[in-house]
């Protein structure tokens, strides 16, 4: 197999043979084949879980299982968001040939600090539910995270302690601080508005209308990006993609957005929540015939029952998913379109050359670690809001999943190479495997084995691929 492939490759490089239609398509559209492989692997994993869970317990998924249902995919995105947010920062850290092992403990520390601030300090002082509480709590989490990150960066850059050691120290120390802050107890419950960021209550769901508005805006943005990219290339006399390739790219991007939105908006509110919402807001429930498979609610005489045609609401995008998508978009922009991003890649590619060309590499290190800390702050808000509680156990060992997500997503530990979208896909892959196995009710030990194996296997495939491309 591999010898055939390499001969095919050498033939192509000699320009004698006509390249296949697929490879012409890939060259023209400049699609990252690595990403294509990851997306394919992700779909394969999803289908496998759906088929297998369908065999165990039939459900209404694409292949008769419980995995490829709007509900599970919706939950999957919410479950991924915290790790996904942090993985985008980890990519930049690893590109710069550093590592941050402290983020899991940092997350517990920031989450507990935010919770102590709102539950023990602010709520008694200005009253439970005061609108200042959630704003101050979120700002405090973000600032604290950024400061701790900057401290990590400072020690790495200026005190010249290897990042591995600085953050290993942080991993051990921060969890101790988190423990002392709350004396080891679980701090709960969070502020009502703060909780919205966790995506666990109806008020934190966008609903179909705004989800579609957002989707249309995203599609417009994709088209704009394609057109803008083309005019930029013209301006700097870079080789242009053929027009059909540009159109295809815009179409694929928009189709992905529309498909995701369609899945997300077809997950109805849980039955109990529709009923409660209708009763609390005095909404008239239409009369109908009881059907226990339905997702809507009806009045059958005096009783509220489940039915197929009646009062129904759909969830749409949840706040944490929007936060993660927003962070992903912003970080893609930062990494690819700003001077900051270019510096990160050039330092990672060759630190000495970068320094000699006048980049303040030490300050850049502090900034990148501070950015990582800021993202940990966001994740701390998401995780504690989602759990509606904060403990020193929250977030522990998250660093391993975040690093794994970045690495599965193609970030090279040798530095200089890595993409934000790769890390996001990596995070989704890790969470898919975990959620899928939980869905199958497999023991946790088995889950760890599979996740570890996938990590090593992904890097193996990646190395193999890179060698071949060279």
């Amino acid at each position: 197999m591999s010898t055939q492939d390499s001969t095919a490759l050498s033939q192509a490089s000699e320009k004698d043979a006509q390249p296949s239609a697929l490879s012409r398509f890939l060259t023209a559209t400049e699609i990252d084949t690595r990403m294509l492989g990851m997306v394919a692997a992700l779909f394969a994993v999803w289908c496998a879980f759906d088929i297998y869970s369908g065999i165990l317990r039939p459900n209404d998924g694409l292949f008769g299982g419980a995995f490829l249902t709007p509900r599970n995919l919706w939950t999957l995105l919410v479950q991924t968001s915290s790790i996904a947010v942090m993985s985008t920062g980890m990519v930049l850290i690893i590109i710069m040939r550093h590592i941050d092992l402290s983020i899991g403990s940092m997350l517990s520390l920031v989450a507990v600090a935010g919770a102590v601030l709102q539950v023990y300090i602010m709520a008694p002082a200005i009253g439970v539910g005061h609108p200042v509480i959630w704003i101050v709590a979120i700002i405090a989490c973000l600032v604290l995270g950024t400061l701790i990150g900057a401290l990590n960066g400072y020690l790495t850059a200026y005190a010249q302690i290897p990042a591995f050691i600085v953050t290993l120290g942080g991993l051990i120390a921060f969890s101790g601080v988190a423990f002392l802050l709350a004396k080891g107890v679980t701090v709960a419950p969070m502020d009502k508005t703060f909780k919205l960021i966790g995506g666990g209550v109806p008020a934190s769901w966008l609903g179909p209308f705004w989800s579609w508005v957002l989707a249309i805006a995203a599609c417009a943005l994709i088209v704009f990006a394609v057109i803008n990219g083309r005019s930029q290339r013209k301006r700097f006399k870079f080789p242009l993609r053929p027009v059909w390739a540009e159109v295809t790219l815009a179409a694929i991007g928009s189709a992905a957005v529309v498909a995701t939105t369609w899945v997300i908006t077809s997950y109805p509110w849980p039955f109990g929540l529709i009923r409660r919402y209708a009763l609390e807001n005095n909404i008239t429930i239409p009369a109908g015939v009881e059907n226990r498979d339905g997702d809507a609610i009806c009045m059958a005489g005096e009783k509220i029952v489940r039915c197929t045609e009646g009062l129904i609401y759909y969830t749409g995008y949840a706040v944490p998913v929007l936060v993660a998508l927003g962070v992903g978009a912003a970080m893609t922009f930062v990494a690819g379109r700003t001077r900051f991003g270019r510096y990160v890649y050039s330092i990672g590619g060759n630190p000495e050359a970068a320094e000699l060309s006048g980049i303040n590499t030490k300050m850049m290190t502090v900034k990148v670690f501070a950015l990582m800390g800021f993202l940990v702050g966001i994740s701390a808000v998401i995780s504690s809001a989602r759990l509606d509680a904060a403990t020193n156990a929250l977030g522990q060992l998250n660093e391993l999943f975040v690093i794994a997500a970045a690495v599965i997503g193609g970030t090279s530990l040798a530095g200089g190479i890595g993409t934000i979208y790769g890390a996001l896909l990596g995070a989704l892959m890790m969470q898919s495997i975990q959620s899928g196995m939980a869905l199958l009710n497999l023991p946790a030990a088995f889950q760890n084995i599979v996740v570890g194996t996938v990590l090593v296997f992904a890097v193996f495939v990646d190395q193999f691929y890179r060698r071949r491309v060279k």
Partner: protein
């Protein structure tokens, strides 16, 4: 100082020779703690130290900081100070055995405090962990005698996770056999972590299409994850059981989102252990101490003298117990509770 210790030791030896006489004071009780990482051990220590010092005896302690090696060295150090009784909270219940042997060889009595190690010469004092599981299951099945149950178990590496589940099954077995109760999900939770429990519960609800009537969680931290997952499906209020007497969990019990939190009153355990240690120091035979029975439920089935304390289930009806014991303030327990729904909050 040294002179005083010598004098004390002299007095101790003297009283030892008059075993069982009225000379109670002047003994030395030592504790080898495995860690102070969790808040509860400080409560245990306060109880033991208080009881020992109130009896006029001396309290010594070491902290192994979560290391089996350091604990072995700690115990050597304690033995050289010649206490009358050493209480050991073992970090590793197998690695500790040579140290326990050394304690016996030095003619000192040992107590396995809360964590079992299987040495027939030691007295094992703990809460009945199988009993905790039994109580969680009993309280929840009182509210929901029939239906589909989900089980959120602790870390697979912790024997307590299995003991707890064993206790739950003892209570539920008849109902499961007769088909009244169905076990629909059963998962271990890595590191007893609440966020993992939340994800497991979400997947359980997805796979069963929300057809779950009650959830038995093996601790309160995980129960917080379970309740968050239930809330997101509009199902909060179905019976949920947990244990530890977490402050947040007691608040959930008052709010009605959790049915029971089985509370192991650490003060109670510490005081019982201190009383037993003082009795041993004064020469009371191990099996003559109040409450001692035989226990052989460990991994190797070694028969040991043991005191198994019955934990307290905290439900809506008796939240006052935890408030009165100073475990939680009324404000913490009753935060957000609607007036008139819980007696202890009025």
């Amino acid at each position: 100082m040294k002179k005083m210790t010598l004098a004390l030791m002299g007095a101790a030896m003297l009283t030892a020779s008059f075993a069982g006489t009225a000379f109670a004071a002047g003994k030395t009780i030592a504790v080898s703690w495995k860690t102070f990482q969790e808040e509860r051990w400080k409560i245990d220590e306060a109880a033991i130290k208080g009881a020992v010092e109130a009896a006029g005896d001396t309290y010594l302690s070491t902290d192994a900081q979560g290391s089996a090696q350091k604990q072995a060295a700690d115990i050597e150090g304690l033995i050289s100070q010649k206490p009358d009784v050493i209480l050991v909270v073992a970090f590793d219940s197998d690695a500790i055995l040579p140290s326990i042997q050394a304690i016996s060889d030095a003619g000192i009595q040992s107590i396995a405090y809360d964590v079992q190690f299987e040495d027939p010469n030691a007295l094992y004092i703990t809460f009945d962990n199988v009993g905790v599981g039994r109580i969680i299951a009993r309280e929840v099945s009182k509210v929901k005698p029939e239906g589909r149950y989900a089980f959120i178990k602790g870390d697979k590496g912790d024997p307590n996770a299995t003991f707890l589940f064993q206790g739950m099954m003892e209570v539920l077995k008849p109902s499961i056999d007769s088909g009244k109760i169905e076990n629909v999900c059963e998962t271990f939770t890595d590191g007893w972590k609440p966020d993992n429990a939340q994800k497991n519960m979400e997947q359980c609800l997805t796979s069963t299409d929300n057809k779950v009537d009650a959830v038995l969680s093996e601790n309160d931290g995980m129960a917080s994850g379970v309740v968050a997952a239930l809330e997101a499906q509009g199902m909060s209020g179905i019976p949920v059981g947990g244990q530890d007497g977490d402050l947040a969990a007691i608040n959930r019990v008052a709010l009605g989102t959790q049915t029971v939190s089985v509370w192991k009153n650490a003060t109670n355990l510490g005081e019982t252990a201190a009383a037993a240690a003082i009795a041993l120091a004064n020469g009371t035979a191990m099996d003559a101490i109040k409450g001692v029975g035989k226990f052989s439920g460990g991994k190797k089935g070694v028969e040991m003298n043991s005191i198994l304390l019955e934990p307290t289930p905290i439900t809506k009806d008796n939240i006052g117990v935890a408030i009165d014991a100073g475990h939680i303030t009324k404000a913490q327990a009753c935060a957000g509770v609607a007036a008139g729904t819980v007696a202890a909050c009025n």
